[in-house]
C-alpha cells in the first residue's frame, strides 16, 4: 500500500470542507460536497486494508451509512446560516453517533446519549438560541444577521482541520499495526465469568432463590466450550446439580465497572454537576434594583391583602 494515498485523500476532503465553508449555495457548494464525501470514502477504502480491518461486509455497510450521515450532518451544522437548524443537525449527528455505539456493542451508552444529549443538553441550547433570536429579530425584522451569513476565514479553518485530520491519519496508519492484539472470544467469556462471580443476587434470580449458592462462587462457575456458563450448586437434599446461566449484559458490565473501579470519580462527577448548577444560577441571575418606595408599596399591598382575607 502506498503510504502517500491516505494523505492525498485527506487533502481532497479538506479542500471540499473549505469550499463548503466558503460558499452557502451554488456550484462551489456542490463541488465541495462531492470532494469532501469522495475524499472521506477514499480514506475509508484505504483504511480497509489495515490489520483489524473489514471483517464483515454487512456491518461495514451499516457503518458507512452512519458515518456518512454523521459527517454530512456535521458539515451542514457548521455551514448552516440559522443557528436553530444547526442545533437540529447536531441532533442528527448524535443519532448517527448512537448508531455507531450500537455497532460497537455499547448499548447502554447509546440510549444514555439519546436521552441526555439529544433530550436534555440540546433542548437547553435550543432554549437559549430562541431566547437570543427573539431579541435579535425584533430589531432586524427576520433578516439573518451579517455574522451568520459569512464565515470567518474559511480557508484557514479548513487548513487547520485538514492538518489535524492528517495527524489522525498518520497515527491510525502507522500505529494500528503496532497495537496489542484484539480481545478474543475467550477474553469476553472470562470477563463474563469474573462479573457473574460478583453478582450472587443475579444468579439467584436466574436459578431460583430456594437453591443455596456456594460461598466461593468463582470456583463453581465454569465456562464451557460452546460459550455458555455453567454453575454447579448443591440443592437442599444434598444432590449436586448444574445450571446454565445467562451471561451478564452490557449494562451490568458498565455499572459494575463504574462503581467498582471508579467510585471516587463518580463522587467527583456529582460534585462537578452540583457546582455547575450553582454556577449557572449565579451567572444567569439578573439583579433587579428596587427603589425604596416600591418595596414599601409591595409590603403594604401584601399587608392589606392579608387583612382582606381575614
Amino acid at each position: 500500500m502506498d503510504p502517500i494515498l491516505p494523505y492525498i485523500a485527506t487533502a481532497v476532503a479538506a479542500l471540499g470542507l473549505g469550499m463548503l465553508l466558503a460558499a452557502h449555495r451554488g456550484p462551489v457548494r456542490m463541488g465541495g460536497m462531492v470532494l469532501g464525501l469522495g475524499g472521506l470514502i477514499w480514506l475509508f477504502i484505504e483504511a480497509g486494508q489495515l490489520p483489524g480491518g473489514v471483517e464483515d461486509i454487512a456491518s461495514e455497510v451499516v457503518f458507512l451509512i452512519f458515518a456518512l450521515l454523521a459527517v454530512a450532518s456535521a458539515v451542514q451544522m457548521i455551514t448552516q446560516q440559522r443557528p436553530v437548524y444547526a442545533a437540529l443537525f447536531f441532533v442528527l449527528v448524535i443519532l448517527a453517533t448512537c448508531g455507531m455505539l450500537v455497532l460497537l456493542e455499547a448499548f447502554f451508552m447509546a440510549f444514555a446519549l439519546v436521552i441526555v444529549y439529544a433530550g436534555a443538553i440540546l433542548i437547553t441550547y435550543m432554549f437559549v438560541l430562541m431566547l437570543a433570536q427573539q431579541a435579535t429579530d425584533a430589531s432586524h425584522a427576520g433578516e439573518t444577521p451579517e455574522y451568520e451569513r459569512r464565515s470567518r476565514d474559511p480557508g484557514n479553518a479548513a487548513a487547520v482541520a485538514g492538518l489535524f485530520m492528517a495527524i489522525m491519519v498518520a497515527a491510525v496508519f502507522a500505529g494500528l499495526p503496532e497495537l496489542p492484539p484484539q480481545s478474543t472470544a475467550k477474553d469476553r467469556l472470562d470477563a463474563d465469568l469474573a462479573l457473574l462471580a460478583n453478582l450472587p443476587g443475579d444468579i439467584s434470580r436466574q436459578i431460583g432463590s430456594e437453591i443455596e449458592l456456594p460461598s466461593d462462587l468463582a470456583s463453581h462457575l465454569k465456562a464451557k466450550e460452546d460459550g455458555t456458563i455453567e454453575l454447579t450448586a448443591v440443592g437442599e437434599d444434598g444432590t449436586a446439580s448444574t445450571f446454565i446461566l445467562e451471561p451478564p449484559g452490557n449494562t451490568a458490565h458498565v455499572g459494575w465497572d463504574l462503581v467498582a473501579s471508579f467510585p471516587a470519580s463518580l463522587e467527583v462527577a456529582g460534585v462537578i454537576l452540583l457546582m455547575a448548577m450553582f454556577g449557572a444560577v449565579v451567572l444567569a441571575r439578573r439583579e433587579v434594583e428596587h427603589a425604596e418606595q416600591e418595596l414599601t408599596a409591595a409590603t403594604t399591598d401584601f399587608g392589606e391583602s392579608r387583612e382582606d382575607q381575614s
Partner: protein, 110 residues
C-alpha cells in the same frame, strides 16, 4: 435487522471508527474557527465531544474493556456541566451587547 443481529455481525473495524472520529473532530475544529455565533461555537465543541465518545467506545470494544464506556459517562457529565455554564455565560454576554456575534468582544483579545 434487529439490534442484536447487528451486534452479532462482528462489529466495525477499529481503523474506520478512529477515522470517523477524526473527521468529526476536524469538522468541529473548522466550525469553531469559522463560525462567529457564540452558541454555534459551543455546539462545535460538543461535536468534538462526540468524536471522543466514538474513540472511547471503539477502543473499549477492541480490548473488551468497559472503562471506555465508563469514561463516556464522565464525558456526558462534563458536557452537561459545560453546557449549563457556557450557556449561562452566553446569556450574560447577550444581555450586555444584545448580539451573539463573537467579534463584538474583540477587545478582550489584548
Amino acid at each position: 435487522m434487529t439490534v442484536g443481529m447487528l451486534a452479532m455481525a462482528g462489529g466495525v473495524s477499529l481503523a474506520h471508527a478512529l477515522l470517523l472520529a477524526g473527521a468529526l473532530f476536524s469538522i468541529g475544529i473548522a466550525g469553531f474557527l469559522s463560525r462567529r455565533n457564540l452558541i454555534v461555537m459551543f455546539l462545535c465543541t460538543e461535536l468534538m465531544f462526540q468524536a471522543v465518545i466514538i474513540v472511547m467506545a471503539a477502543f473499549g470494544h477492541w480490548y473488551w474493556d468497559f472503562s471506555g464506556q465508563v469514561f463516556i459517562i464522565f464525558i456526558l457529565t462534563i458536557a452537561a456541566a459545560e453546557a449549563a455554564l457556557a450557556l449561562a455565560l452566553v446569556v450574560l454576554l447577550h444581555r450586555r451587547r444584545a448580539t451573539l456575534d463573537a467579534s463584538a468582544w474583540r477587545e478582550l483579545r489584548e
